[in-house]
């Protein structure tokens, strides 16, 4: 049995408690004073994709082999790739053009998931703005390329797995090459070689 009006008074007590509580209880305080304070982004956080390169050269070190899988799988179709060609006009395993239209990209991460070469990853940004609505939001290969170091900083746990995986593949490939070379040499006497 409650007295009419008690509900209102309970409400006043509750808002009064919050009024005081906002000064003393950190759980009641989620506001961040934006330009001065920035909340740390968690490791999994994602905004737009970038391209990973190994070594020092952002052009030659790109892992991308322009297989166009991401272009095909991208739901809003915001990726545009043209493979590079060598002098004789044959396609090289390298992108000549790799553009992402950020104004269309919806940060879904599907390109990252489908990439078999671990060459496209998700960037993180707390705030992201450009003055030019059209050109500024079309990112080219040079804007997208980031060193592997950067990737390791952004997603340490994920990068560790990727690095291990790539190292294993490289080892396999190189040992495969070595084996092939050895196999081609007649009279190779080393035991256990080329297994």
């Amino acid at each position: 049995m409650s007295v009419e009006g008690a509900g209102l008074i309970r409400g006043f007590i509750e808002t009064g408690r919050n009024l005081v509580g906002s000064y003393v209880d950190p759980r009641r305080w989620v506001t961040v004073q934006y330009p001065e304070e920035r909340r740390a982004t968690p490791e999994n956080s994602r905004v737009y994709p970038f391209l990973v390169y190994d070594g020092a050269d952002p052009e030659e070190g790109l892992r991308c082999v322009s297989c166009k899988i991401c272009e095909k799988e991208c739901p809003p179709q915001c990726i545009y790739i043209v493979p590079a060609q060598d002098e004789r006009g044959r396609p090289r395993k390298h992108p000549a053009i790799f553009d992402i239209d950020i104004s269309v990209c919806m940060s879904c991460q599907i390109c990252v998931e489908v990439c078999p070469f671990d060459s496209i990853k998700m960037d993180q940004a707390y705030a992201w703005d450009r003055e030019d609505r059209f050109g500024g939001l079309l990112l080219h290969k040079a804007d997208l390329a980031r060193p592997n170091r950067y990737y390791r900083e952004l997603h340490p746990a994920e990068a560790r797995v990727v690095d291990e995986h790539l190292a294993r593949e490289r080892e396999l490939r190189e040992s495969g090459v070595r084996a092939a070379v050895r196999a081609s040499l007649p009279g190779s006497g080393e035991p256990g070689g080329g297994t």
Binding site: V3, E4, T15, G16, N18, L19, S22, T31, Q33
Partner: protein, 417 residues
């Protein structure tokens, strides 16, 4: 500060040494007399009216600015966020930025609006509210005008706001504006009655319509500690509660802000106003809130009287504005807590609840006076409790009856098997 005394100008030409207490208390009056003294004889009578008017507008203009910031900051804290904190120290100059924004905004008038009425409505809104500020005594001898019928003047002038609301709603030629205007009329008319009725109790007890005299009737202390404010009596307490409920409705404040009702009818009668005209409306609403809060302070909270005899050293207008600040904070707290009523609930609440209780409160005040002659030990407490029960029990029971008759009440829920 020289604690021994300060050379002060008391009236035109009179110089004497006064203490700081007297300086602060009498300062505003001296300043006025001094300024008037410069003028030729014919202009003095005008200046004596104009200077307080300008002073009141200036003080309340500044208070309006500060109150908007305070409201947003307090609401923010109630809602666990900081509120405005960027412009000026701790955001207290936000009102200046808002003012600049309002002034530089485009003034949009709908093509089919009645331009003359549309232009006049904000002025008609602000002017009477500003007038009603004239009769409130802000301190000892600090009142812009003290007519014998001060309270009557207050209510008479204040009701002009209804005309303004309807002018704005009708001239905008917008359906939401019209709905808002109709709500405003219905609400202001129904709530003027309980407002007047609860003020009438005070008039009856104080025996005067002059607000200055009403404040003076509340001077002194019981047993030297409890101030003889009306709120300390059962009928005064009930009167204050009734008055505040009705005042919130009369000044369109939450939870009675239906004429604006921005979640239902966009902005009510202010929908088609922008820029400076909107600012004037806004100012009018705040002035209205100040006026009714000031009146509540005057009628029930002892006006400029200090709460304790030892605190009387502080200037009297300081006490008034402190109490006014408490009233404003109360309005803000209500706004941060309660949802809005519906228009039919609002009218029901006014006519069926506040009005009968207001009438009953008159009766309680009479009984209070009648029981004043009791002289047995503990008579004071018995009288107090008897009168409180006389108004409190009917208030609770009548409220319960009204709620239950419509089937409103807490519910118990079952769970599917």
């Amino acid at each position: 500060m020289n604690m021994e005394g300060i050379l002060a100008l008391t009236g035109w030409g009179g110089l004497r040494w006064v203490g700081p207490v007297e300086l602060f208390e009498r300062g505003p009056v001296w300043l006025r007399d001094w300024a008037v003294g410069w003028l030729p004889e014919g202009a003095k009578v005008w200046a004596e009216g104009l200077i307080p008017a300008v002073a009141v507008l200036a003080v309340f203009g500044l208070l309006f600015g500060l109150a908007t910031v305070a409201e947003r900051k307090l609401l923010g804290r109630i809602q666990n966020r900081p509120g405005p904190n960027r412009v000026g120290p701790y955001g207290w100059l936000q009102f200046a930025a808002d003012g600049v924004k309002m002034l530089t905004k485009e003034d949009v008038v709908p093509r089919s609006a009645d331009r003359v009425l549309h232009f006049l409505a904000p002025i008609v809104m602000l002017a009477p509210v500003a007038l009603s500020l004239a009769v409130i005594p802000y301190g000892r001898d600090l009142v812009a005008a003290d007519p014998r019928c001060g309270l009557l003047f207050f209510f008479a002038v204040g009701s002009a706001a209804e005309v303004a609301a309807f002018m704005a709603g009708w001239s905008s030629r917008n359906k939401y504006s019209l709905l808002g205007a109709m709500r405003a009329i219905a609400q202001m008319i129904s709530y003027e009655l309980p407002l007047v009725l609860s003020a009438l109790t005070v008039v009856m007890m104080a025996g005067s319509l002059s607000l200055v005299e009403i404040v003076e009737a509340q001077s002194g202390y019981w047993w030297g500690v409890i101030p003889r404010w009306h709120v300390m009596t059962p009928w005064g307490l009930a009167g204050l509660l009734l008055f505040m409920a009705a005042a919130a409705a009369a000044s369109n404040r939450a939870p009675f802000d239906l004429p604006e009702g921005e979640s239902e009818i966009i902005g009510g009668f202010m929908t088609e106003y922008s820029g400076f005209k909107y600012a004037i409306f806004f100012m009018g609403e705040y002035f209205g809130m100040f006026a009714v809060s000031g009146l509540a302070v005057t009628l029930f909270l002892g006006g400029w009287q200090a709460p304790l005899a030892v605190l009387e050293a502080a200037p009297s207008y300081g006490w008034f504005f402190l109490k006014l600040g408490v009233m404003i904070a109360w309005f803000i707290w209500v706004r941060g807590t309660l949802p809005r009523l519906r228009v039919d609930h609002l009218l029901n609440f006014g006519w069926k609840y506040l009005l009968p209780l207001g009438a009953l409160n008159l009766l309680v005040a009479m009984v209070w006076r009648g029981l004043g002659g009791w002289a047995f030990p503990g008579a004071g407490a018995v009288r107090w409790l008897a009168c409180l029960a006389m108004i409190g029990l009917p208030a609770i029971l009548w409220g319960r009856l009204l709620m239950r008759s419509r089937g409103w009440g807490p519910r118990v829920y079952r769970y599917a098997s």
